[in-house]
């Protein structure tokens, strides 16, 4: 499959399962009141972070958004520290200051999730500028949704990246809904990816449920960026299996639509099937991976639960 070794594809399956299980656990913990605030699960969209992060190197940057757990896990974030952050504990990635929507880690070159829809897009311009000035051939992956694509900063940032030929790969995860607003009703030209022609940059419209297609496209766009030829816009069509957050019953969606995507376009089920069919993995090996992931999630929750609360006197240290 497109130059990907069996080991890498099994690793990708493992990441898909990790993200799925992490999100399922987070929803469960949210519903039982263990975590609070906002939680935006990316169940159904896992193939995009997994394929995209597999296609870049450890020196490259990623910029995430409010639905960002998948990006962090795909980038190698520690699920214990993520879970601790969701619990608001001092051992979390942000010492409990920020919760689900703001996870950052400089070692993993995660420049941050973002609570403001579209808020990370302009920041990608600066990270891209840095990469260009450094001259080391690093790139920036900037993830955002179809909702953010309608924010004015999308235009400002893509235009600026294009004129400066910055090494940024813009990945629009079009999950068909911005909370309740359907993207077919909110995007005038229907496909966000077609807007690339307005900036004179390559545009790709792909199936976001297929991690290999995502991988291949991001790899190509990263090569384009590393060659000094500037940014690309990738629209990965995907589907948010649940509501905007755990308390959203998503009544604005038709039953048939939900059934179609959850049965036909489940990235985890489909990739499992594909690897089984290609005899790259066995049922038994998948079960082993699943129980290994379950253990990791269990350990992550245990770590979060036993971690100390942040100290009241210390939190002001981050404020000058």
């Amino acid at each position: 499959m497109a130059g990907l070794s069996n080991e890498v594809m099994i690793e990708m399956l493992k990441k898909l399962i990790e993200i799925r299980r992490f999100e399922e656990k987070a929803i469960q913990l949210y519903k039982t009141g263990k975590i609070w605030g906002y939680l935006h699960p990316c169940i159904g969209q896992e193939a995009i972070p997994v394929g995209a992060c597999q296609a870049i190197g450890i020196q490259d940057y990623i910029i995430s958004n409010h639905r960002g757990h998948g990006h962090c896990i795909a980038r190698g974030a520690d699920m214990g520290k993520m879970m601790a952050e969701l619990f608001g504990k001092s051992t979390g990635y942000c010492k409990g200051r920020s919760g689900s929507m703001h996870i950052v880690n400089m070692e993993l070159k995660i420049l941050g999730e973002n609570g403001i829809v579209g808020g990370g897009i302009p920041i990608s311009v600066g990270a891209g500028l840095s990469c260009k000035m450094d001259g080391k051939g690093n790139v920036v992956l900037c993830f955002f949704g179809d909702g953010a694509a309608n924010n004015g900063v999308f235009h400002e940032s893509l235009n600026m990246s294009a004129i400066f030929k910055l090494p940024v790969i813009y990945i629009c995860e079009n999950n068909m809904y911005a909370i309740s607003m359907r993207s077919v009703d909110s995007v005038a030209c229907k496909d966000v990816g077609k807007r690339s022609c307005a900036y004179g940059i390559p545009g790709h419209i792909i199936d976001g449920s297929d991690p290999v297609e995502v991988y291949n496209t991001v790899k190509k766009a990263a090569g384009h960026a590393r060659d000094g030829r500037g940014p690309s816009l990738i629209e990965a069509k995907t589907y948010r299996f649940y509501g905007h957050h755990p308390n959203d019953p998503a009544e604005y969606r038709g039953k048939e639509e939900v059934e179609y995507y959850t049965s036909e376009k489940d990235p985890v089920t489909n990739f499992k099937g594909r690897l089984l069919e290609g005899k790259i993995i066995t049922e038994r090996e998948i079960e082993e991976i699943e129980s290994e992931v379950d253990k990791k999630i269990k350990d992550a929750v245990a770590f979060a639960e036993k971690s100390p609360e942040p100290e009241l006197e210390k939190f002001l240290e981050e404020v000058e």
Binding site: V104, G112, G119, V125, G126, A127, L129, E156
Partner: protein
């Protein structure tokens, strides 16, 4: 000591910092051949080239975002927003992103970003090019706010801003650019949070910043001829604020006037008045007086424009009312 224009002092600070640190670069609208709308960057494109003097399209949010992203990844950008009025186009990037990233990251990330901009009344530029919006930024935890009134201060504070690891909103005043002031040849910096007594006095403390320092000094000089001695305290940085220096002065004089060009409603002046009252109530011989801009959009007509902000006569009148 030699005297140079405020805009030249800015240029000197920039040159010194760009020569000192390769990670410092400039980005903004019309800062290339044009040299910036107020010509503070004249000649810098030739000196440093387009990789370090980056001319941008009119895209304020993306300009600030470019600064934030570069600051997060190892650079020290100096971003120019031509008029503070245009910062409104980038408020998410300033208030939700730049200001919050250090805190949101649990202290693991820094945003060493300088946003140079200018505000204020005086050139008939009307409502959308004359505002004093410092209160917007003063209100947001995570930003530092600098408002220098003299050539000496603007140079020393800008150098400090470039070296600071926090986002700094560096607000110049359009009327001060051609004003000359003493600046030493040798290098210096001015720490943030250190007020400067611009004039010593005994009877009344005048707290003023930016262009109002100049007007307050003129008022103080005139009052001196009438035997009234005013102490003019310039905080130079609103965040952090050297409140102790103001309080020391108020304890000595027992009277305080706060002069600010910004509209009074929800202003920095109102906040400072409240904070000083809390700590000096027993020493005050009279209520604190605020001399501020009117709560109006800035008019174009020159008489109306000048009437909308404090003038020397208003400051003199206020001082006399306090005595």
């Amino acid at each position: 000591m030699r005297e140079i224009e405020y805009r030249e002092a800015i240029r000197e600070a920039i040159i010194e910092e760009m020569d000192r640190d390769r990670k410092v670069f400039l980005i903004g609208e019309d800062i290339g051949i044009y040299g910036g709308a107020f010509k503070a960057y004249k000649g810098l494109l030739d000196k440093y080239g387009p990789d370090r003097v980056i001319n941008t399209p009119i895209s304020e949010a993306a300009i600030i975002g470019a600064g934030i992203g570069a600051a997060l990844t190892g650079y020290r950008p100096i971003v120019e927003i031509m008029f503070i009025d245009f910062a409104t186009l980038a408020m998410d990037q300033i208030a939700n992103q730049a200001a919050k990233i250090h805190f949101m990251s649990g202290g693991s990330l820094n945003v060493p970003l300088v946003i140079r901009t200018q505000g204020g009344v005086g050139k008939g530029l009307a409502t959308q090019h004359s505002q004093s919006l410092e209160a917007w930024f003063y209100h947001i935890p995570g930003l530092k706010v600098v408002m220098p009134a003299t050539s000496y201060d603007v140079k020393g504070l800008l150098k400090t801003a470039v070296r600071d690891n926090s986002p700094v909103i560096f607000i110049e005043h359009k009327m001060i650019y051609p004003v000359k002031g003493a600046v030493p040849e040798e290098e210096y910096t001015i720490p943030f949070g250190k007020a400067d007594i611009k004039r010593k006095g005994e009877d009344v403390t005048i707290f003023a910043y930016s262009n109002m320092v100049i007007k307050s000094l003129e008022a103080a000089e005139e009052l001196e001829r009438e035997g009234i001695s005013c102490e003019v305290v310039d905080p130079r940085t609103l965040v952090p604020l050297d409140i102790d220096e103001v309080i020391n002065s108020v304890k000595k004089t027992g009277r305080l006037i706060i002069v600010s060009e910004a509209c009074r409603r929800g202003s920095v002046a109102s906040d400072i008045s409240a904070r000083i009252t809390e700590r000096t109530f027993d020493c005050l011989h009279a209520p604190i007086k605020i001399v501020a801009g009117m709560d109006t959009p800035i008019p174009y007509n020159s008489t109306l424009e000048q009437a909308s902000i404090p003038q020397k006569a208003d400051i003199i009148k206020a001082v006399k009312e306090l005595l």
